[in-house]
């Protein structure tokens, strides 16, 4: 007798009733139902899953209970969070084979249900099961049995089956499916898309399925005949009478444009005609996808051209076919037409996305793709429309001009901007339309972003003469309606940024006080919450301060108490609603960020470095109070500010440690918000360098927490490399006092080193992480070795030397370390020799690292590697010769 059935018999639960109750309007009923479902799942998983699939398959049951049964089933098979996901996978795989077979049979059976929701839910669940089983080579008959459904006459079975195939392609990776089966799936899907398919639901399901199946079609796209056929069917589907099918077909074209860019040459003329027709005449949802096709082609070509000009590769796997350049004379006019289709007040609606917006975005991408060639095609449109009485024309002209400012050369643009600048400045003040002013301010920002700054070789567009006028206009616009003011802030942001290297010649310096005052004024506007105005004002203030010059240091200094007072006030507020608390947190984050920039600025200049520290006490007091408000972003910002403050204060920072320590520890314990943890780890490093041996009294606590963090599998992995580096920082600060941590830290380092020595993965992302990990480990070794140098306890490190050398040799042999690791690794070799001296000499000279590795580094093109290697060579020669 089969076990699943036994368990079922024992369950007296009325599944249908519970599932219905779980959707009840009454909270208590719902809660109770959810509880009993949860209990059922925990006590008897096979029974639970079986009951749900039976419910889903049972035509007698109400639609609502069937739908929810399917949904819960789906959630029992997959989760977003990786940890939980693999747990659910394992549980499913561990189930009794008979139970699984029964569940799967019920699911397939449901695909023929007359009830649409039951079919659709079932197809999603089937895809989830397939996602688990197919990579394990289980359920081999699935695709066959689905394909046999295709030949059934009933359109709803056909539709559900195509939908299932689509979901399946989304869940399963192409490598897990044999080419033979891929061919069959594609055949079925493309047949379903064909115009000869009379049922439009079937045709839509097939078109959507193709979207997901495209990733499987690599072999088929390499075959001219098959590709021609697929492309023809897709293009035909874009002409379907059903709008949904047309949209889905264009979505396929978009996906093809990025997946099979290099196979498109022969179809481009047809595709242009299709897209142009859609952009000009089809419904917006379809037209948007048609524009998206061209944006996507731009993305591809920008990437390829980037690789062409990159000094590392100077080539690309895929050649550039210059589709955009060829289409340019027809493409640009089509896009310019869309710009006139703005909606009123689209700038006030955050979620708005329409033809004009998509067209302008695409135009910007085209400009980046082709550079100078776009300018003569766009300028007549700008000149013709910029003075017309209808705001739509003026806005479209301005938007077109702003869109082409990135891409073409400064030589080409500068003369145009010299003419346009005055016009823009006057429009920003005088144009009656907010929409025009918004776009004008944005365009000015683009001018400053791309055509202003010391890096440009052309004659400067902004001179000391017109700078004052620009500032006057921008500061005035900052008093305009929020969306215009926000763009004006953005323009000021880039204007300031362009002067970052200007030194005392910065023409902003005389107006610095006015600029700061105006920005502060904006932050206090009652409507500063709209259009993200307040945030923009603070970020602009930060940039203005960051790019300011030494002479305006005293004004920045005056800003300190002002910002501190603002922060103070946020802490004084009484009881707040959730919404108000959120707003307060946002403001606190901005203020802490602002203080962070100010600290770095004032701490980095001779004239202000010391006088600024008069505020350190008050500032720390505020930061400590900020920590009491629970919010991750605010914590991060305050932590970063404290790190900056520690550098500025140096050893004097120790007076804050007693109070600050608890928050430091809290940060190190914050597994959930791992960015807080990561930033706190970094701040520990800052403190080590600022306090040096004064950090010692806190090291027991810090090391305990760091070791716990390393052992946790909950903590995001990205935090672990910085923790290792932090070991090095601590050891360097406290020297031989690190002794007591050796027995904990060294084994951790060793096992991490063993794990990371061989990445054995072609996955770029994983290799990148492995290299970060290696770098962290090596920095720890360097810090520890140098920390013990010249100490009588140096000998304590001798037992670890063989392993460290072994690690270095393994890295060299692995051949997959990056330049940073190479530099750090060869440094560690030197540190070994430097600290352990003659004792380690023989083992060092026997290592590969001291020969081939060192030689390779000495011959490196990278100056940092070479420097490290030079030093290592000297240290080794000392050690070897004693």
């Amino acid at each position: 007798m089969n076990r699943g059935v036994v368990l079922l018999v024992n369950m007296s639960l009325d599944v249908t009733q519970v599932l219905l109750s779980a959707q009840s309007a009454d909270g208590a009923t719902r809660k109770l139902a959810e509880e009993s479902l949860k209990q059922f799942q925990e006590q008897n998983l096979p029974g639970f899953l079986f009951s749900l699939s039976s419910e889903l398959a049972n035509e007698e049951k109400p639609e609502e209970s069937r739908r929810l049964a399917g949904l819960i089933l789906k959630n029992a098979l997959d989760a977003k969070e990786q940890h939980r996901k693999s747990e659910l996978f394992q549980r499913w795989l561990a189930l009794d084979a008979n139970v699984k077979a029964q569940i799967k049979a019920l699911l397939l059976q449901t695909l023929s249900s007359p009830v649409a929701t039951a079919r659709s839910t079932s197809s999603q669940v089937i895809a989830k099961v397939a996602g688990i089983e197919i990579p394990q080579k289980q359920w081999p008959e699935l695709i066959g049995s689905l394909l046999s459904n295709i030949h059934q006459v009933q359109p709803n079975v056909k539709q559900a089956t195509l939908e299932t195939l689509g979901y399946l392609c989304e869940e399963v990776s192409p490598e897990a499916v044999d080419q033979d089966q891929v061919n069959k799936i594609l055949t079925a899907v493309v047949q379903g898309m064909n115009a000869s398919e009379g049922n439009s639901d079937v045709r839509l399901a097939a078109t959507r399925a193709l979207y997901n199946a495209l990733g499987f079609a690599q072999v088929n796209f390499s075959n001219d005949m098959e590709r021609d056929y697929i492309m023809r069917v897709v293009c035909e589907a874009t002409q379907s009478p059903e709008v949904k099918i047309r949209q889905a077909a264009f979505e396929c074209l978009v996906a093809i444009s990025s997946t099979y860019y290099d196979k498109l040459a022969t179809y481009m003329q047809d595709i242009f005609n299709i897209t142009a027709k859609a952009v000009r005449g089809d419904e917006e949802s379809v037209a948007l996808q048609a524009i998206e096709f061209w944006s996507s082609i731009c993305d591809e070509e920008i990437d390829i051209l980037d690789e062409y000009s990159s000094e590392f590769t100077a080539d690309s796997d895929v050649p550039c076919y210059y589709f955009i350049k060829q289409a340019l004379p027809a493409l640009v006019p089509m896009l310019l037409e869309t710009l006139l289709k703005q909606e009123e007040d689209q700038d006030l609606d955050e979620g708005a996305w329409n033809l004009a917006m998509a067209g302008g975005t695409c135009l910007g991408l085209v400009a980046r793709t082709v550079g100078d060639d776009i300018v003569p095609l766009v300028m007549p449109f700008v000149e013709e429309n910029i003075t017309k009485p209808d705001w739509r024309h003026r806005e479209a002209a301005t938007y077109a001009f702003g869109s082409i400012l990135e891409g073409p050369s400064a030589d080409k643009l500068a003369p145009l901007i010299n003419v346009a600048l005055n016009f823009m400045l006057s429009a920003l003040v005088n144009d009656p339309s907010n929409h025009v002013k918004d776009t004008t301010a944005w365009t000015l920002g683009r001018i400053f972003e791309f055509l202003h700054g010391s890096a440009l070789e052309t004659a400067p567009i902004i001179t000391s003469e017109n700078c004052q006028q620009i500032l006057t206009v921008l500061l005035q616009s900052m008093k305009d309606v929020p969306n215009v003011a926000e763009k004006a802030c953005g323009a000021l942001y880039f204007l300031a940024q362009g002067y970052v290297d200007a030194g005392s010649a910065s023409p902003l310096a005389p107006f610095f006080q006015d600029i700061v005052q105006s920005l502060l004024f904006v932050t206090h506007r009652e409507d500063a919450g709209e259009s993200r105005l307040r945030t923009a004002a603070y970020e602009t203030l930060n940039e203005v301060v960051r790019c300011s010059i030494e002479e305006t240091g005293p004004i920045v200094m005056q800003l300190v108490p002002v910002i501190m007072m603002e922060l103070h006030q946020t802490l004084e507020a009484g009881k707040l609603s959730t919404d108000e608390r959120e707003k307060r947190s946002e403001l606190q984050g901005l203020l802490c960020g602002c203080l962070q920039v100010i600290i770095q600025k004032l701490g980095g200049m001779e004239s202000t470095k010391y006088s600024f520290l008069q505020y350190a006490d008050q500032m720390m007091e505020l930061f400590l109070r900020v920590f009491a408000c629970r919010n991750a972003t605010v914590h991060e910002e305050a932590m970063l500010a404290i790190g900056a403050l520690a550098y500025a204060a140096g050893p004097n920072f120790s007076k804050y440690m007693a109070q600050f320590y608890q928050y430091l520890e809290m940060g190190l314990q914050n597994f959930e918000e791992y960015q807080v943890c990561a930033i706190t780890v970094g701040v520990v490093g800052d403190l080590c360098r600022a306090l040096e041996d004064k950090i010692l009294p806190f090291c027991d606590g810090i090391m305990t927490q760091l070791l716990k963090d390393l052992s946790s599998n909950q903590l995001h992995r990205s935090v672990k490399p910085p923790i290792f580096s932090c070991f090095g920082d601590i050891a360097l600060a406290i020297g031989e006092n690190f002794e007591k941590y050796l027995i904990y830290a060294m084994p951790m380092l060793q096992s991490a080193a063993d794990l990371s020595a061989h990445a054995a993965s072609a996955d770029d992302e994983l290799l990148d992480y492995t290299n970060q990990l290696r770098n962290g480990i090596l920095e720890a070794y360097s810090g520890i070795l140098q920390g013990f140098k010249s100490s009588p306890k140096t000998q304590l490190l001798m037992p670890y030397a063989p392993h460290i050398l072994h690690f270095l040799d393994a890295l060299y042999n692995g051949k997959d370390m990056d330049d940073t690791v190479m530099k750090t690794a060869i440094g560690v070799l030197g540190d070994l020799a430097d600290t352990l001296g003659v004792h380690a000499g023989p083992s060092i000279s026997q290592s590969i690292s001291s020969k081939k590795f060192l030689e390779e580094c000495l011959a490196s093109d990278d100056p940092l590697i070479k420097e490290s290697a030079d030093w290592a060579r000297i240290a080794i020669s000392r050690a070897v010769s004693g």
Binding site: T361, T535, E539, G837, I876, S881
Partner: protein, 558 residues
């Protein structure tokens, strides 16, 4: 090989539509910048350690039995030849890209004078592009001691000059400590006596850079007796740029605690002349030097006054530039924290008249706060000084500030006013009240600073006592001030203070309420009794600012 489909979503396109200030990107960039600083500092720290030659590690003692026997004994000894052909020593970088550098290093170490000079000039030019990595390379090549040697080559002034220049540039980088410790400092001090003016200027500059870094660097410079020869630089015929450098270097040396053996008097003789300079840079640095000396030397304030600097400092209060005003007012604030006789000097020199004008103008907050602080310190000392404050008509601008300015200025102004009120005679009180101080004083009762609140209360107490005297002249027999407080609605603020967890404040408030407004409050049955929490609160109020302590403590070095 086709790439994975990208499937750009509508959201990513929407995010790219007319982007303004990208907050997430700005944040990330801020963080990246901090990370870059961190990386640089970590490398610099490590590098500093690596620079230090290891002291020979002591042989393992028998007690270190826990060291496993795998340790290879140093059997090879000095006989084993270096395995690498490069390993002759630190000065033979032969790699292609470093070729230029290694050639320069070779020249530096050669015995040929022309080569030495040529290479030093090359180094100096290299350093002038201010890239740290260049500095690192040069320091890695172990050339610093060689440049230090060059400083002593009195027969070759040009070489001295160039070497001093190189060291100046390195000292301006993150690696000041290395310059301080390479043996260059005594030689630079010696060069202050060079017959060549350019060399003297360069040496001054280098020493200034070294002294500007951490305290240990400054101490090295002071230990080598730099002060006296530096003071000798100040001559009648000095050019302005040279004088600027020298003043700047001198102020750097004065920062922090000066060692006892350094004589302050000769420094002050020079500085008290420099504060008459017309050059703003010189003026600012000289004023900062005065500021530092007030703090960094025992009896610093007396020394500064003794040098006769006070009248000019007071004159400078009328200077238009904030960069001058800040050190001037900070120095005066330091002086105002001195004893009564020292404060008297400030008063005699007309500080208060200048402050009255200054407070009425629109200056940055830091300056206004210091100005209030000085007034408040003066008003603490004696009735005569309170009279001086009144005579200078500082009260009106103070009251204006109390009504109109930012909170922290208000606080300082409140201190000044409450100090005056709590120490004033009855005539003075009458004047203060007539200028309208009662209302702002009462408003100050709502501040968080317990000490300030207490002083305000003392001030009010003093005013109310004076009112008792006035009461006798009145037909109604009413204390006019108590009446005023009642009428302007400020009594509530006093009553609110009963809720404050501070025993001393509570007692004084109760005393005032019972003495002057018995009728108004006696019918309130809910008066809380002084409770246990008072003890815990007292520890808090200890940390609060003291009225007579200058708030600018930038130069407090332990």
């Amino acid at each position: 090989m086709p790439r994975a489909p990208r499937r750009p979503s509508e959201e990513t396109r929407l995010a790219a539509y007319k982007p303004g200030v990208d907050v997430a990107r700005s944040r990330r960039r801020r963080e990246d910048r901090l990370l870059a600083v961190r990386r640089r500092n970590r490398d610099a720290g490590l590098f500093k350690c690596r620079r230090d030659e290891p002291t020979p590690a002591p042989a393992a003692t028998p007690s270190q039995a826990d060291v496993p026997a795998t340790t290879s004994p140093p059997s090879s000894g000095p006989s084993s030849p270096p395995s690498s052909p490069h390993a002759e020593g630190p000065r033979t970088a032969t790699d292609p890209e470093l070729e230029g550098l290694s050639e320069m290093v070779e020249k530096i170490w050669s015995e040929d004078i022309t080569s030495q000079l040529e290479a030093t000039v090359q180094f100096r030019k290299l350093l002038s592009d201010e890239k740290n990595s260049t500095v690192i390379k040069i320091i890695r090549a172990d050339v610093l001691p060689r440049f230090a040697d060059f400083l002593s080559r009195h027969e070759l002034p040009q070489l001295q000059m160039e070497a001093a220049w190189v060291l100046t540039n390195i000292a301006a980088s993150d690696y000041t400590l290395l310059v301080a410790e390479c043996g260059a400092v005594p030689r630079l001090v010696e060069l202050l006596g060079s017959p060549n003016a350019n060399i003297r200027h360069q040496a001054t500059w280098a020493l200034g850079n070294i002294a500007a870094d951490m305290p240990s660097c400054r101490e090295t410079v002071l230990d080598h007796g730099a002060v006296t020869p530096l003071l000798a630089q100040f001559r009648e015929d000095m050019k302005v740029p040279v004088l600027r450098t020298a003043t700047w270097a001198l102020s750097n040396l004065c920062f922090g605690k000066l060692p006892a053996e350094v004589k302050v008097k000769p420094i002050l003789e020079i500085v008290s002349q420099l504060i008459h300079s017309v050059d703003e840079k010189i003026l600012a640095d000289a004023c900062w030097a005065l500021c530092y000396i007030c703090d960094g030397v025992s009896d610093g304030i007396q020394h500064v006054l003794g040098a006769g600097a006070c009248p000019q400092l007071v004159n400078l209060l009328m200077h238009g530039s904030v960069s001058i005003l800040l050190p001037v007012i900070t120095a005066l604030a330091r002086i105002s924290s001195g004893d009564d006789a020292q404060v008297q000097v400030l008063v005699e020199n007309g500080t208060l008249n200048c402050l009255a004008q200054l407070l009425a103008r629109n200056y940055p907050k830091s300056i206004k706060k210091q100005a209030c602080l000085i007034v408040s310190n003066i008003a603490t000392s004696s009735k005569d000084h309170i009279q001086a404050v009144i005579d200078a008509d500082v009260i009106s601008p103070l009251i204006f500030l109390l009504k109109s300015s930012e909170a922290d200025i208000k606080q300082e102004a409140a201190w000044a006013l409450s100090n005056a009120a709590s120490g004033g005679s009855s005539d003075q009180i009458q004047y203060l009240v007539s200028r309208g101080c009662l209302e702002p004083l009462c408003n100050a009762l709502t501040y968080q600073d317990a000490d300030l609140v207490y002083t305000c209360l003392e001030g009010l107490q003093n005013i109310l006592e004076a009112g008792e005297v006035g009461k006798q002249g009145q037909e109604s027999g009413v204390n006019p001030y108590a009446q005023f407080i009642l009428e302007c609605g400020c009594l509530d603020k006093l009553e609110d203070l009963q809720e404050v967890d501070d025993d001393t404040i509570y007692k004084l408030v109760m005393k005032l309420l019972e003495s002057y407004w018995e009728e108004e409050v006696s019918d309130d049955p809910d008066l809380p009794a002084s409770n246990d929490s008072a003890e815990t609160v007292e520890t808090v109020s200890e940390d609060a600012a003291q009225p007579t302590e200058p708030s600018a403590s930038a130069n407090e070095t332990e």
